[in-house]
Symmetry: C2
Subunit: 428 residues, 2 copies
Amino acid sequence: MPEFLTLLPPDEARALLLSHLAGPLADSAALDSFLALGRVLASDVAAPHPLPEFPRSTVDGYAVRAADTFGAGESLPAYLTLIGEIPMGAPAALTLDSAQCALIHTGGMLPAGSDAVVMVEYTQQIGRGDLHGRPGEIEIMRAVAVGENVISIGEDVRAGQVVLPHGTLLREAEIGGLMALGLTEVRVARKPRVGLISSGDEVVEPNQLAGPGQVRDINSYTLAALVTRAGGEAIRYGIVKDDFSALQAMARKALSECDAVVITAGSSASTRDMTADVIRTLGEPGVLAHGINTRPGKPTILGAAEGKAVIGLPGNPVSALVNGFLFVLPVVEKLLGVLPRPRATVMARLTVNLASQAGREDWWPVKLLTNYRSPITNYQLPITNYDADPIFGKSNLIFTLAAADGLLRIPPDATGLSAGETVEVVLI
Amino acid sequence: MPEFLTLLPPDEARALLLSHLAGPLADSAALDSFLALGRVLASDVAAPHPLPEFPRSTVDGYAVRAADTFGAGESLPAYLTLIGEIPMGAPAALTLDSAQCALIHTGGMLPAGSDAVVMVEYTQQIGRGDLHGRPGEIEIMRAVAVGENVISIGEDVRAGQVVLPHGTLLREAEIGGLMALGLTEVRVARKPRVGLISSGDEVVEPNQLAGPGQVRDINSYTLAALVTRAGGEAIRYGIVKDDFSALQAMARKALSECDAVVITAGSSASTRDMTADVIRTLGEPGVLAHGINTRPGKPTILGAAEGKAVIGLPGNPVSALVNGFLFVLPVVEKLLGVLPRPRATVMARLTVNLASQAGREDWWPVKLLTNYRSPITNYQLPITNYDADPIFGKSNLIFTLAAADGLLRIPPDATGLSAGETVEVVLI
C-alpha cells in the first residue's frame, strides 16, 4: 500500500492541477450565432453601432416638443394640433412644429422636431381629428421634460462598447443581444477534447454480455456525458486491460490527440497504482497529487504532462463521476476560458445526522424531498422548502447517483452535520 | 385600451394554461443511450438482470469462509491456507474448502465455497507463499461475518426492478445506469415542436440592415434558444407584418405543424390586441388569460386551441424572455412529461431596496456579485456568499438580461424588498 501517504485537500489539489494547465485553448471557430447556444465567446464582442440607432418612444402616446407642455395639467391642459401618425418601422414623413404633436407607438421613431412623448393615458382627443389631412386637436393633461419617455441614440449601448466580454457563456439573452446588433456570426472557443480511457480486466463494453466476474463500462460514458455537458468534446478510447504497456500506449495516443486525458482505473489498488505509474511516464511534471482527502475519491490521481491535464479516477462509478464534477469539469472550463458563474444550488434541511472525518471533504448524493413534485411548485417561490435526504448504499452503485438530485458537501473542518441543519446542495 | 381588465396571478394563469394541454406527447423514439443526454425517458426502464450478477468483493483482501475467522483477533489470529488468487473479470477456477482462503481484489467474484472477505489491512502473509502451486499461509487478525465486504447478487438492483421511471431526465448518472445494465438503446420522448412567430412592422431579420425606425428580431431567437435548452425543438416562422390576416394565416400554419405556438407581438398595444384576436380564431377555448399580474409581462396572453398552447408574448425582448421562462418553459416540460426537478437557485443578499406593487409578481434581472469570480471559489462552499445587484434599465434592453446571472422574484404579497434581505435568485 504505497499510495495515499499524503492526502491533499481537494481545493488545494484542484488549484495545483489548474496551475499546470497552459490556459484557455488558443484556437477558436466562427459559428452562426443562432447555433452558438452553450458555447463560449473566444473574443470580446463590441457593438458595431449604437442601440437604439434612432430616438425611440418607450410608450404609446404623442410625440411633442416638451416646451409646449410646460405647465400643462388636468385643470389646465395644453392643446396641440395632431399632424399625423408615426408609422412603425419607418421614419416619419413629417416634421413637428411648435404646438404640434404626432401619434406614436411604443418603439416608434421620434419625428424631427420632437423631443419627448406624452403617454396616451394623459391625453384626450378633441372632436374627430382625421389623421389623413384635416388636423385634430389633442388635450395634453401632463407636462413632460425633454427626453421623457424616449430612449435616445446609444442610450442602451454605445457604438464600440464591449457588450459581451470573451469568456461569456452564450445563453438565451446573449444570443438575443448578438441578434439585436446584427452579429449573426460569432467566434467561439473550440470545444476542449477530453480523451477517456477505461481500464480493468473485468470491464466489458455495455453492448456485450457481462460474463461471470465481468462488469460493463460505466465510467467512460458518464464522464463523456459530463464533458459534453460542460462544453467539451469527449473522445472514448475504449477499454484497456490491466497491462502497463497497453495502458501507457493508449494514454500516449490520447494525450497526443486530446487536450486532456482521463483514465478510470480498475477497482483494485494495484491497477490504481498502475495508472499513477503510467502518468509518470507521459511527460513533466507527471503526478501532482496521488490521493485526495475527499470521499468518495480518495484514490484520485491528478497529473499534468506538457501542459495538459491527465487525471486518474477510481473505478467505482460514483467515485469516478463525483470526482469528475470536482476535477474534470474545472479542467474543461479552464480550457474553454469560460468566466466563472454561480453553481446551481438549493438550500435544504438535512433529514439525518451525517458523520464525517475531520480534514476530509465528503460529498453525499442526496434526494431533495418536498412538495415540489407538483409541476406548479417548480415555479413558485419560496422554492427552498426542501429536505435533503442522503442516499445510503453499500456499493456506491451508479443508481444511487441516478436517484440523487444533487451532492451535499461536508466541509473538511466539520466532523459531521446534524439532522435539521440547513445545508447547501449542488444540483447535478 | 380594452386590455388588462383583469390581471391573473401568474401561478394561477400558468395552472390554467397547463390544464388545457392534452398532456405529454404520445410519441417517442428509440435512441442510442450514449446520445440520450438531456432527453426524457418515454417509458419505465426495468433492470433486465440483477446487479451485481455475481457476489462481488467490495475490498482488496482474502475471500474466506466466515466461520473460519470466528474468534480471530490481533492477539489470537486465525491461520488460513492461501490456495490462489481470483482473477479480475473471470470466475475463479477454484473452490474454497474449510480453513482455506483466496486473494481477491475489489470487484472480484467470490469463489465457490466462500461467503465473506477479510480486508488486506487485517491480514498478514506468513513465509513465502507461492500462489502457483505451493500454498502459503495467511494470518487473519479480525473476524468477519457472513456477507461482510461482499455485495450479493441483486443487492443493488433486483431483476425486473424499475430503476428509472418514465419522465426521468437523462443526466450523466442515468446514462451510466443504462450502460451498467447493457441497455444501449432507450425510448425517449419526442422533442416538442414549438412554433415561433415574430410580428411587427418595425422588425427585420438579424442579418438585415436595420433602417430608420427598424429593429432586428431578437425574440424568436431568444425563445428558440430557451425551447432548445428546455428539450424542445424550436421552429421559426419568421417575421409577420402587423396584419390580422397574415398573422392568422401564419399562426394557423404553425399550429398545424407544431405542438405549441408562441407569437411575440410588436411593441404597441394595438398589435398586442391583434395577437389576442388571432388566438381567438384558432380554436377552442382560445384566449384563457389576457394580462398577467407580473412585471415584466403584463400584456402576456395565454391561450389554447385544440389542446395546444398558444402564447402571445410582449414584443419587449426582456419581457418576452422572462415570460418565456415563466410560461413557455413549463409548456415544453409538460409536453415532454419530464418529472419536476428543483430549480437552480442561489441565495443572495439584496444590495438595494426594491419597491413593488402589492398583488404583482416582479422579476428583476440581477447580477450576483462576490469573490466568486476566482475560478476556485466556483467549487468551494459556502457558495452562497453573494450579493444580488438588480440591473436597472429604462428600456429593458436585452443586454440587461445578458448581464444578469439570474432573476429575483418579488412575490405578489410583498410591496418590496429591503436592502440586506436574503433573497432567492433563479439562475438563468
